[in-house]
């Protein structure tokens, strides 16, 4: 209803107000929210980062240089390489991306194998290179990767390699998909439960309300970590990874819906008393129309804000569960699963790059929190 | 007004209080002048958004940020025996020691909604005693006695037991009385009352207004009453300031304001109120249009957009100066300048 349709013809505007003013007057709640949100710099940054992370999650196969499960015994715990662009050769300076190779050096005292960068070996790297074939979203057959070595056999570990010589960068990119989507799917599930039960609670009130509120209080009073541990341990170990994945989301949203249900109930209760809802009833609107047309638009924005704020806790929960070995299990790759590798001190000491997925978790959670804060502040542009 | 200097308690000169918001600067008070005489009642009357509350808050330096006083003087004449000391409240630091010594002790304030100034988690007795102990060198027991005495004087029945009540246990009228008790317990020389009866019913309003007059007679403080209700003004005021969009458009004694209003706004306002006893079904004279919103103040005289007597090309250009009319009366309207008197 916001696009400027031509005004009723035949009526001259007496005193044309300034254009910006008119824009404000005909601005819908979403426009007003955007104008308010725009002023919140941190939230804008958070929103951009969130968007980038989800874009990464969407195009993992293309972005990851190799298959996350491709291993190489030759390069276990290989340290991160730097990507170089300026190539000084005998024939002069050439500008193209390349990485140096590795050279194994044995520490005589500790008798430990360590990798050093071997400047004599140069492996050219190319953007949009043809590499391991994959199916984008399981549909489109493709070979092109954003970046990769020209020679598929050449070692390229920009973020290092793990215990089995797998490329951490590829694994992290693949982990993004699982970790970020588990938040979304979990929230979607909580959303359905939360809106349904919160809505019933707030709209009907009375004893149904009391019952639902007691259930929520009960669920919230259970300490979450032991509950997850219990439920996570209860998942049959022979389940296929995909089913485990859904099992985990169900467990997470079992707790997650309570917060959302409270928000919805509170909004319903306060809106029920608003004069404009009474006005709609006196207009002769049906109950369904009152809810859908008059009440829901008033708290949709609040719900979006609280959803955004509940995704990070889902991500953290998944990470925690997987880290403890009770959530997702290899071969599924998530940030939590990757961090599991960094569980013992020795491997962290020798290969600190294994902790990089932790940084990804922190960045994603912070970005979503900032975005959610901004949305919450902008959620009620009429306050 | 003979012996003027002795008489004056507070002078406000060219007060300007602006709010600096992201959307622009709101000139809530834009040049207001008046004085309050000792033991007299000054009413500031105006519609919502005219700046009457901000004026009152400016006096005590309790304007909420991003608002602040940008110009003007607020001269408080403090009496020490026979000498009078003049303090400029506008120049004081809002969080400083000086203004805090004035606040609550020499000038106190009551609000429309008592719950804004009464804490819900302390008994009214504790809050009144706190006010006493803050400003006067007395013991706790003496403070308690004073508080009980004060509650009795504002007409709260059984004050010995009521003193232990929390504000939510009192009715609206009783809360307002408790707030008045708290405001007057240090015997201020000026009580600022910001719409003290707006939230109350007429019969309770009558009780509270009567109480204020009684206490004024008894304790001799001046009252600055902020209201939009011309009936309350007529009942209470000695002097009146009429405000419109941050300007004090007219001031004078109450009889001349009601019976010989000068400014077109005052005249229109008086015509637009239905009066009890007026022959029913006469059409009311209304003021056309709406109060402009504070971001879009009209240029020139702020009232010209709604004024029937506005001179085109003049009133929308020239900000009217203050024009003294004698007997302490003043009007801000170009029709009273020599140049444009002919247009009247």
């Amino acid at each position: 209803m916001t696009e400027a349709r031509p005004l009723t013809p035949g009526i001259a505007v007496e005193e044309p107000a300034q254009e910006t003013e008119i824009n404000l007057y005909i601005a819908s709640q979403w426009q007003l929210m955007w104008w308010r949100f725009r002023r919140h710099k941190l939230a804008l940054i958070g929103g951009t980062v969130t968007l980038i992370i989800y874009l990464i999650a969407l195009f993992v196969e293309f972005l990851a240089p190799t298959d996350p499960n491709a291993y190489s015994v030759r390069y276990t715990y290989a340290p991160p390489q730097r990507l170089h662009f300026i190539d000084r050769t005998d024939k002069g300076i050439r500008i193209h991306p390349y990485v140096y190779g590795y050279k194994v050096k044995v520490d005589k005292v500790a008798l430990r194998r360590t990798f050093v960068i071997d400047k004599t070996k140069k492996y050219p790297v190319r953007f949009f290179v043809k590499g391991t074939p994959y199916k984008l979203w399981g549909l489109i057959e493709m070979k092109t990767h954003l970046i990769g070595p020209v020679d598929p056999e050449a070692p390229m570990y920009l973020l290092g390699a793990d215990r089995m010589g797998r490329d951490m960068l590829s694994r992290m990119i693949y982990g993004t998909r699982v970790s970020m989507s588990i938040g979304l799917v979990g929230v979607a599930l909580s959303l359905i439960l939360g809106i349904l039960l919160g809505g019933i609670s707030g709209y009907y009130g009375g004893s149904i309300d009391t019952l639902i509120q007691r259930i929520i209080e009960f669920l919230r009073s259970i300490p979450t970590i032991p509950l997850w541990l219990g439920l996570g341990a209860a998942l049959p170990p022979n389940w296929p990874p995909l089913r485990v994945y859904f099992g985990i989301t169900v467990i997470l949203s079992l707790i997650g819906w309570t917060g959302l249900a409270r928000v919805v109930r509170g909004r319903f209760l306060s809106l029920r008393e608003e004069d404009f809802v009474l006005a709609a009833r006196l207009d002769g609107s049906s109950e369904l129309r009152i809810i859908l047309r008059h009440m829901v638009p008033s708290f949709l924005s609040h719900i979006i804000a609280s959803i955004t704020l509940s995704i990070p806790s889902m991500i953290l929960s998944e990470t925690a569960l997987s880290f403890l070995g009770l959530g997702l299990r290899p071969p599924v790759v998530s940030w939590g699963v990757l961090l599991q590798e960094a569980q013992n001190v020795r491997s962290v000491a020798t290969a600190p790059w294994l902790l990089i997925p932790g940084i990804a978790v922190v960045v994603a959670v912070l970005a979503l929190n900032f975005l959610g804060d901004g949305l919450r502040d902008a959620a009620d542009p009429y306050a | 007004m003979a012996n003027q200097d002795q008489d004056i308690l507070l002078e406000v000169k060219g007060l300007k209080t602006y709010f600096f918001l992201d959307e622009g600067t709101v000139k809530a008070v834009d040049g207001v002048d008046f004085e309050i005489r000792r033991q007299q009642t000054l009413c500031i009357v105006g519609e919502s958004g005219c700046g009457k509350s901000v004026t009152a808050r400016s006096i005590l330096q309790i304007v909420d940020p991003p608002g602040r006083i940008v110009e003007g003087e607020i001269l408080y004449h403090r009496r020490n025996g026979n000498t009078t000391e003049v303090l400029n409240l506008a120049a004081m630091d809002p969080r400083g020691q000086e203004i805090r010594a004035v606040r609550g002790k020499e000038i106190s304030m009551i609000f429309q909604e008592p719950m804004t100034s009464l804490s819900p988690v302390h008994t009214i007795g504790n809050q009144i005693m706190e006010a006493i102990l803050l400003h006067m060198p007395v013991s706790k027991n003496e403070a308690r006695d004073t508080a009980i005495d004060m509650l009795r004087r504002v007409g709260i029945p059984k004050p010995e037991s009521r003193i232990n009540d929390y504000p939510f246990q009192l009715s609206g009228g009783m809360r307002q009385r408790a707030m008045i008790a708290m405001a007057l317990v240090c015997r201020p020389s000026l009580l600022i009352a910001d719409e003290p009866t707006t939230a109350l019913d007429v019969t309770t309003q009558a009780q509270i207004l009567d109480l204020m007059l009684e206490l004024q007679e008894e304790m001799g403080m001046a009252i600055m009453l902020i209201t939009h209700d011309l009936g309350v003004v007529a009942e209470m005021a000695d002097d009146v300031v009429v405000m419109y969009l941050g300007h004090a458009v007219e001031r004078g004694d109450v009889d001349s304001i009601f019976h010989d209003p000068k400014h077109p706004y005052t005249r229109a306002l008086l015509r637009s109120i239905p009066k009890v006893g007026l022959k029913a079904r006469e059409r009311l004279d209304s003021i056309r249009g709406m109060v402009p919103d504070p971001y879009h103040r009209p240029a020139g005289c702020p009232f010209h957009t709604r004024c029937d007597e506005a001179i085109p090309g003049v009133c929308d250009r020239i900000v009217p100066p203050r024009i003294p009319l004698g007997d302490g009366r003043e009007v801000r309207c170009l029709l009273y300048t020599e140049e444009y008197a002919g247009e009247r």
């Binding site: 505007v13 007003l32 207009d283 049906s286 | 109450v254 003021i287």
Partner: protein, 352 residues
């Protein structure tokens, strides 16, 4: 009040008989009912076609509840709401519900007090004013726009504002939007609940004038609920005074203001501040003692007796009934004929 006035008098549009609205007070885990707030406790009144009946009283006296019962926003717990349809048939609205009420929702409309909360901030004027037309399937599309435009024009707003949202308007303009919404279905009875109380003085006069113009133009009947006696006097033909859920007095406006018969009406009139400094009423003012009774625990006998300066023994024991003391002047006081009470005449001059 006489039995079934509405059946005898063709001119009566609505008669409320012994209307009761008791709200249960619930406590505890099981939400047991421990008592009732008797918000409306036996109200009798009638409204004639084309007139304005003012309903005054202090906050909590039940005037808003009475209005909402008539609108059937509440389900009254007792009594009748007799309404004369266009064809002369009389129907008891208190007995209807759901679908059966729908035709009457079109004929009895409401104007709200708060111009901010009564308009959905997320809907444009077109949607707000057009909603009743849309819901009742009266108009849609281009025709809806034309009708909304006409309504907006009629209440003094520019039709091209219909794409704007309420936040673009000031309090007075919003109240005009609310009036346009009430008028959208060609109502016969409009319940205006404190319709001008939230407005500034200068804007209030505009809205009062508008309401009067619309009444003449569309032959409307108003139930005008307000606490401001000067506004009620200005707009009403007859005035009803409520105290703690009951009607204490009902009479023609002039009669009631000049010659009140109930001590509460007298006190109310005397408490109104008169906008004329020459008439400072402090010396003559009757200042009521004490507070309005609690509708959950009303006093015995006449609810007003604990505060009444003229109360006698009988007042504490026996509840006075609303009765006609002649000339359509109804009053609920045992001693209405004996008391000589002061009203107001002329420009607020206190009669002796």
């Amino acid at each position: 009040m006489a039995d079934d006035l509405i059946t005898r008098d063709e001119e009566v549009l609505l008669e409320v008989r012994d209307l009761k609205m008791h709200f249960p007070i619930r406590r505890g885990l099981l939400r047991r009912v421990i008592g009732y707030v008797k918000a409306v406790d036996g109200v009798n009144l009638f409204i004639r076609k084309g007139e304005t009946l003012g309903l005054v009283g202090e906050s909590g006296c039940g005037k808003t509840t009475t209005g909402r019962c008539i609108l059937r926003a509440y389900d009254p717990t007792g009594g009748q709401i007799l309404y004369r349809q266009k064809d002369g048939q009389i129907v008891d609205l208190s007995q209807l519900d759901g679908k059966a009420l729908k035709p009457y929702r079109r004929e009895i409309r409401m104007i709200f007090q708060d111009p901010y909360s009564s308009l959905n901030p997320r809907m444009t004027l077109l949607d707000i004013v057009g909603e009743p037309l849309r819901v009742n399937k009266i108009a849609s599309g281009k025709e809806l726009e034309d009708r909304v435009a006409a309504l907006l024009r009629r209440v003094g707003l520019r039709p091209e504002y219909m794409r704007r949202y309420p936040h673009a308007f000031s309090g007075g303009e919003r109240q005009r939007i609310g009036i346009a919404r009430a008028l959208a279905l060609d109502p016969r009875l409009v319940v205006a609940d404190e319709a001008v109380s939230a407005l500034d003085v200068s804007v209030r006069a505009q809205i009062l004038n508008l309401l009067q113009d619309l009444q003449q133009e569309f032959d409307l009947t108003y139930l005008f609920i307000a606490h401001d006696l000067s506004v009620v006097e200005y707009i009403s033909d007859r005035v009803a005074v409520m105290y703690v859920g009951k009607l204490v007095e009902l009479a023609d406006t002039e009669e009631l203001y000049i010659n009140p018969k109930h001590p509460y009406t007298e006190a109310l009139l005397s408490a109104v501040p008169k906008p004329d400094p020459r008439l400072r009423t402090r010396k003559h003012r009757i200042v009521l003692q004490g507070e309005v009774a609690d509708p959950a625990h009303p006093p015995s006998g006449c609810y007003f007796h604990p505060r009444c300066p003229y109360a006698r023994e009988r007042c504490a024991k026996e509840e006075p009934q609303l009765r006609d003391i002649g000339g359509g002047h109804y009053v609920a006081c045992h001693y209405a004929e004996e008391l000589s009470l002061r009203g107001v005449i002329g420009e607020g001059i206190v009669a002796q």
